[in-house]
Symmetry: C2
């Protein structure tokens, strides 16, 4: 019998299934973390076969790494680092994370699990980080950015500033005295992040 | 029979047991989080009776909150906010967390669990946060600190800067190209945090 299922090209099926697995895994991992998530639950959410997940990705750790890696690729593409307008870059980073809080949760769970140890897709991600540091260093050498701060500190601390609310939302709420993600609070926080980065990155006149 | 056990005053016994439970719970929660930790494991680690833990603290969530609350009390006592020397305060905050990375892990797990929802000891902690914000606002009014940034943003973002390495240790390592907690990297990061906060808090000359 010809069904809707077997009329679709196989390649497209596989891609669609993978996309469903990615979405389901991202949601499950963001909720429960690497330790708490279950591949069974991801398979159910994705309406996919559990064995297929193992066949495509290897195991739970590899799937977690693939999900984080894919979201980071999207982030790198959609929010290109711009050392010439570093403060505005911080603002765009802030906006991206605000719209997609899943990634911060994934990164927090990842950090809690691996600490400073290697992750399965470590090389590709470390290369991305190195590129960012290089871009900032080049801008410093051209005199377009304050050069007293190490580019590694600038790159890391901009991430910390841009993700602060979602990294410790309970503290953000206590300090705010209200919802730190309410539009007004968020807009004010964004402006503060941009301004702090602007002051940190502006070449000193001395 | 008179044993070593029943010669000790009861009150002191109870205090010693509570102290052991706090230490064991902090370690277990920092490792596994609120969801992953087991009261059984805490009891075993503390060499205490599981029923005693429930009697003293209520349940796992209350014990978690008590552990976080206690460490925050210690932090508040040992690193008093000093809006007159706000950059140096950021540096001392950085040092405290560097020496006691357990609390950042507890706060991350707490944020992942509760997000912006209430925690069991919410009122006391929110009051502490409000005090910090008030202290910064008073300093701004006196003209001793830049007043273009909201005190809530300053308080939150200083925490984000001071805890960046331990909040996302895997990113810190990738960006560093080495151990971000090595003495040299840590000293450089500390100086960068202090300098960024100094630039953020210095009253503008305009």
């Amino acid at each position: 019998m010809e069904t809707a299922e077997n009329r679709r090209p196989k390649h497209r099926d596989a891609e669609a299934t993978k996309a469903r697995i990615f979405a389901a895994a991202a949601a499950e991992f963001a909720e429960r973390g690497l330790a708490g998530a279950r591949v069974d639950a991801i398979a159910k959410r994705a309406e996919a076969n559990k064995q297929l997940i193992y066949a495509y990705f290897g195991g739970k750790e590899e799937l977690f790494a693939a999900v984080v890696g894919r979201q980071l690729e999207e982030l790198v593409e959609e929010v290109e680092i711009d050392p010439e307008r570093f403060a505005e870059y911080a603002g765009r980073l802030f906006d991206w994370h605000a719209e997609r809080p899943e990634l911060v949760r994934l990164l927090l769970y990842e950090g809690l699990m691996y600490d400073t140890g290697s992750v399965p897709n470590d090389d590709a991600r470390t290369a991305h980080s190195r590129d960012k540091v290089k871009a900032v260093r080049a801008q410093q050498k051209q005199g377009g950015m304050d050069a007293t701060l190490d580019p590694r500190d600038l790159v890391m601390l901009v991430i910390a500033l841009a993700t602060a609310t979602d990294a410790m939302p309970q503290l953000a709420r206590m300090i705010e005295g209200g919802d730190p993600r309410a539009p007004r609070a968020r807009a004010r926080r964004r402006a503060a992040v941009v301004e702090i980065v602007r002051r940190a990155a502006t070449p000193s006149s001395s």
